[in-house]
C-alpha cells in the first residue's frame, strides 16, 4: 500500500550509463548546421516530429527515467535527472535527505542529487552543479528537448535574470566531509 500510494510521484532514478560516457555522447548533440536544419524540419512535419519525440522519450526514459520536461538539465547534473526527484528540484537536494543519502519520500532509494553529486564528481564536472537553474517552463512539457536545444529555446536555462554569474565559486576548498 505504501508503494501504491506513492506511485504517482516522481521517483529518483539511477541512470543506466556512466556519467563519463554521457558527457561523451552529449557531443553528438551539440547544435550544428545539420541538426538545426533537422529540428526545423521536424517542427514542420508533424508526424515525423511526433515519431522523433517518441523515440527520444523511449531512449531517455530507459537511460535516465526521463519525464519529458522538454528542457533538459542532464548535462548540468551529472546526467542524473532532477525531474525524477519527488519535489522536482533543479537546484540541488532538499533538506530532507537522510545522512546516508536516502530520499525522504522514497527511503528505499537514494536521493537523485546524491547520485548527481557522485556522478558529477567522478566525471570532473562538480562545477556544473553550481549553475543557477531557472524555473521550468511548463509550456515545453512533453516536447522534444533535443529539438528545443537545437532551436536554442533553452539557452537561458542556466542564466540568471539579474546577471548573477552563472558559475559560482561554491565549492569549499577545505573538505568538510569525507
Amino acid at each position: 500500500m505504501q508503494v501504491a500510494t506513492r506511485a504517482g510521484w516522481p521517483r529518483p532514478y539511477v541512470p543506466r550509463l556512466s556519467a563519463r560516457l554521457n558527457y561523451l555522447l552529449h557531443r553528438l548533440l551539440t547544435p550544428n548546421r545539420v541538426n538545426r536544419r533537422l529540428a526545423r524540419w521536424l517542427e514542420t512535419h508533424r508526424r515525423a516530429g511526433r515519431a522523433f519525440t517518441a523515440t527520444e522519450k523511449a531512449v531517455k526514459q530507459r537511460a535516465f527515467g526521463c519525464r519529458m520536461c522538454g528542457q533538459c538539465a542532464l548535462p548540468a547534473t551529472g546526467y542524473a535527472c532532477p525531474q525524477t526527484c519527488p519535489k522536482q528540484l533543479r537546484n540541488g537536494p532538499c533538506g530532507g535527505v537522510s545522512p546516508d543519502g536516502a530520499c525522504e519520500v522514497y527511503p528505499e532509494v537514494r536521493c537523485v542529487w546524491v547520485v548527481a553529486y557522485e556522478r558529477a564528481e567522478a566525471a570532473g564536472h562538480l562545477d556544473d552543479l553550481s549553475l543557477l537553474q531557472r524555473p521550468v517552463d511548463h509550456r515545453l512539457t512533453g516536447s522534444s528537448s533535443w529539438v528545443n536545444y537545437w532551436q536554442g529555446r533553452d539557452e537561458g536555462l542556466w542564466a540568471d535574470p539579474e546577471g548573477v554569474r552563472t558559475r559560482l565559486p561554491i565549492w569549499p576548498t577545505t573538505a568538510s566531509a569525507a
Partner: protein, 329 residues
C-alpha cells in the same frame, strides 16, 4: 520593543529568532499569549507555513497577529502548495501588510502531512523562489517580466540543513541561495556541534558570512516520545548517538529538564563558532521555554531597560549599503 532582525543583522549583533506555532483552532488570544511569552526575548518570530505538510492557519494571518502583539514576524513561504503566481502574490501581500521578513523554503513533501493525497506543486524550488523575491524587491520585477512600483522591502531569508547528504553540497547549496539573494539563513536543529562546525568552516571558506547571517537552529527534546518522533518521523534531523545516550540515561522525570539543559549548552557552543550570527529557537508550541533556554545559554533578553541584553557575539556582516551593491557572483 526590540530593534528587530534587520537591525541585529546589519549591526552584527547576535540575533535571536524563535518559532511561533499557530494554534489549530481559531483563537487569536492564544497567539497573543504565545507572543507575550516571547516578547523582549527575540528579534523576530517565524510564523510557519503549514509545517510538516499539515494544514494550519495561513502564515500571513499569523504574521499579522504577531505584529499586532508587538512582535516582528518572519513569514514563512513554502514551494509545496503554490505555483509561481500564488507565491509572488503572497510575497506582494506580505509587502502590503508591512511584514518585514520572509523566509523561503522548499517545504516538506505532502507524504508527511495530514493530506498525503494532495497535489505537490513545487513549481519553483527554494533557490528560484529566493531569486524571484530578490528581483521583486530590488528591481520590482516579477518572474513574468511585469514590474511593480513601489516594490516590497522585506528582508529575505532561507534555510539550510548542514546534516543532510551530500554534506559537501550543503555549504555549496547555501552559496546558491546567497547568490540568488538570501540575506539570512536559519539552519535545521543542531544536535551535532562538531558536524555543524565543519559546515560553518565551509561557509566561512566561501565568504558567505559576509553576505548572509547564519542563525543556528536549536531546540529542546523534552520526552522519549519526542526523541523517537524527531529521529524517525521528521526528515532531515540528525541526532548523534552521544546525545541519545545522554538523554536516555537520566531518570524519565528529569528527561525534559535535561533536554532543555542540552539545548542551552548547544546554544552556548554554537555561539562560539566563528560566523554564527544568531540562533533560531524551535520549541514546538512551548514558547514559555525560550527565555529559560536563552538565559541558561548566557544570551539573555533582547532589551533590558533600554539596553541590549547579552554580550555581543557573532561576526559583523556587511552593511545594507554594501550588500545592496555587492557583486553577487
Amino acid at each position: 520593543m526590540t530593534e528587530g532582525l534587520r537591525t541585529a543583522i546589519e549591526s552584527g549583533r547576535f540575533a535571536v529568532t524563535a518559532e511561533l506555532d499557530l494554534p489549530h483552532g481559531i483563537d487569536p488570544d492564544r497567539v497573543d499569549a504565545k507572543a507575550r511569552a516571547l516578547s523582549g526575548w527575540v528579534d523576530a518570530v517565524n510564523v510557519t507555513d503549514n509545517p510538516g505538510a499539515s494544514v494550519m492557519p495561513a502564515a500571513m494571518a499569523g504574521s499579522v497577529l504577531a505584529q499586532r502583539a508587538g512582535l516582528e514576524p518572519v513569514m514563512q513561504l513554502v514551494c509545496r502548495d503554490r505555483n509561481r503566481i500564488a507565491l509572488q502574490s503572497d510575497l506582494l501581500g506580505a509587502g502590503l501588510l508591512g511584514i518585514p521578513n520572509v523566509l523561503l523554503l522548499t517545504g516538506d513533501h505532502p507524504r508527511f502531512g495530514d493530506h498525503p493525497g494532495a497535489m505537490p506543486v513545487f513549481d519553483l524550488d527554494s533557490v528560484t523562489l529566493v531569486g524571484a523575491a530578490r528581483a521583486l524587491r530590488d528591481s520590482g520585477r516579477l518572474l513574468g517580466g511585469r514590474t511593480v512600483a513601489p516594490p516590497p522591502s522585506w528582508l529575505i531569508g532561507a534555510v539550510e540543513n548542514p546534516f543532510a547528504a551530500p554534506q559537501r553540497f550543503r555549504a555549496a547549496r547555501l552559496a546558491k541561495k546567497v547568490a540568488a539573494g538570501a540575506e539570512f539563513v536559519q539552519t535545521q536543529f543542531v544536535f551535532d556541534v562538531p558536524m555543524f562546525a565543519r559546515f560553518m568552516a565551509d561557509v566561512r571558506d566561501l565568504g558567505l558570512t559576509d553576505q548572509c547571517t547564519v542563525l543556528a537552529g536549536i531546540g529542546p527534546i523534552r520526552s522519549p516520545r519526542a526523541l523517537e518522533f524527531m529521529r524517525s518521523e521528521v526528515p532531515g534531523i540528525h541526532i548523534p548517538d552521544d546525545v541519545v545516550r545522554r538523554l536516555t540515561s537520566v531518570p524519565s522525570d528529569r528527561f525534559a529538564a535535561e533536554g532543555v539543559r542540552l539545548c542551552a549548552e548547544i546554544a552556548a557552543q554554537v555561539r562560539e563558532i566563528p560566523g554564527v550570527g544568531g540562533v533560531h529557537v524551535m520549541v514546538f508550541g512551548k514558547e514559555g521555554l525560550v527565555p529559560e533556554i536563552l538565559e541558561t545559554a548566557g544570551i539573555g533578553p533582547r532589551v533590558v531597560g533600554g539596553r541590549l541584553g547579552g554580550r555581543l557575539g557573532g561576526r559583523p556582516v556587511g552593511r545594507a549599503s554594501e550588500r545592496g551593491t555587492r557583486n553577487v557572483g
